[in-house]
Symmetry: C2
Subunit: 314 residues, 2 copies
């Protein structure tokens, strides 16, 4: 039976009717139009769901919502969503009462991770750690087909493992988090620093009059620019430390990376795997190794994952 | 129905008949007498199990073995046990064939963690991360009553998350692992360094002619010695970084610490909790917080946990 997935972002609300296997059947959406109170945004979500339910030609089993920020999946409560400006909103209950359907609420990165684990890069894997390298570093962990959620609220926040004590300041208020080194934002900061220190670097020409992006250093490095190669190497080493730490906790079948930086493909993955391997505990004695791969669902992962979470466990 | 737990150490083999609730009914043991081939050590394990089975006055449901090193719980294979000098020994199958009982094999720190989660400091908790601060830093993660085991071999190795890139060398060959900062071995190394730098420190008198131990700095700090206080503060800050990273992944109900250093009690836990709190992601918005506590089963955790693992899932 199909379910509906909703991907609630700071800019757009996307909603899709998704088959039980994770295939998008129909998609719709509208602007989030912030700032708005959560009830007003939920009215739009209800309207989009109604539209998809009418088009479904049959029953819909439930609705899953991926929401930015800290959510308590058990109670369906948005605890704190910085990007939306919301605090303690019982979104799950609100939508359930109006829809008359079960509603699953998850952090958006957790939902996207679930989509990749069930229908994307880690399909059929026993376990997967998914990292999204974007403005921040989000992600999720899926063990035996179930999304890891914690007791005290959200889980997992792999972007907030600390890879360097007293290191770079992180948006969370702490220092040295993986996010402060491995997000696209961090890569851009590292690129800008290297550009200031290297006025002759090709990075200046590549960035041109436009903004420095997560691609600037990778593109210049591919063209042989030494300063850019140093930026890329250092970035990959930081990311490798985080990936290795996560492997040494979960020893998962798959680590999947998504987000703009992961689109670098093998220019990222070949050196990343080489950097991670020596840090994997007991690697020499294990017949099985974790696969480190790119995610495959792209921007649809959140929609698909939210919908699949609404199927319920099993 | 009772089960048998076996705690295989580098010095002694301990075995106990354990009730389904985790109570030790009878205990026995013998020296490990290394170096010996795994088959010879297993003969002793079989003899101890036979003794306990005869004393059980009824059926025994199975045997659980906690073994140092990297084990593949699924296949019952000891992949590599440095302390025992063994490599790739199918211990589970060997014991099962001779005993005619199901045998569960686990890493010893994982077994102890399971004991604490089911019958010790995290009894009835939805989830727990247990860390043993000993010669190394071992541990285990229990989610919904199940021990977290990975796909590629052992899991979890929380001592080998990296808290400092290019930091202190670790016994695993990597640098900057939590173990290299938070083990008793690391604390002793940090204490010795501070003693060399501070010839007037009370730590010299406290250590006397005996060896420096994990208590030396804590005892001198409690007596007001400034150099020792600095050692303890730095140690706790390192440990806090590791604990916070694990919380930000699992958001567990309980983090339990065991091993000699955890016996410091509130002299450790009060400043540790204070150091961890600001590093917990989204803490301000969550109604529930992770409890950080001392383990309660002491050296029996491994025996009890191994026995409880032999009860099978559920």
């Amino acid at each position: 039976m199909p379910t509906i997935g909703v991907d609630l972002g700071g800019t757009n609300i996307k909603a899709a009717l998704v088959s039980g296997e994770g295939r998008i059947l129909r998609q719709t959406g509208c602007p989030t139009a912030l700032p708005r109170p959560p009830e007003a945004v939920c009215e739009d979500i209800l309207r989009l769901c109604g539209e998809l339910i009418r088009q479904a030609n049959g029953p819909v089993a439930g609705v899953g919502v991926g929401c930015p920020g800290t959510v308590d999946a058990d109670s369906g409560m948005v605890l704190y969503a910085n990007n939306l400006g919301w605090e303690r909103f019982p979104m799950g209950r609100f939508l359930e009462q109006r829809l008359g359907l079960p509603v699953a609420l998850a952090n958006d990165a957790n939902a996207a991770a679930y989509g990749e684990a069930v229908a994307g890069c880690a399909q059929n894997a026993q376990s997967a750690v998914i990292l999204t390298l974007g403005t921040g570093v989000g992600g999720g962990v899926i063990l035996d087909g179930r999304l890891l959620t914690g007791y005290t609220g959200g889980a997992a926040e792999p972007g907030h493992i600390i890879i360097q004590q007293a290191g770079e300041p992180c948006t969370c208020g702490c220092r040295g988090c993986l996010e402060a080194y491995a997000s696209a934002t961090a890569l851009i900061r590292q690129t800008r620093r290297a550009m200031r220190a290297n006025p002759q670097s090709l990075m200046h020409a590549l960035a041109g009059q436009g903004p420095v992006t997560g691609r600037t250093a990778f593109d210049a490095a591919a063209a042989g620019d030494a300063a850019a190669q140093q930026v890329v190497e250092t970035y990959i080493q930081h990311l490798a430390v985080g990936v290795a730490s996560l492997i040494n906790i979960f020893f998962p079948q798959v680590v999947g990376l998504s987000g703009g930086i992961a689109n670098q493909g093998e220019a990222l993955f070949v050196p990343l795997r080489r950097a991670v391997e020596p840090m994997v505990y007991g690697r020499a004695f294990s017949a099985k190794q974790t696969r480190i791969v790119g995610c495959s669902l792209g921007y649809q992962a959140g929609l698909v994952g939210a919908a699949l979470l609404a199927r319920g466990p099993g």
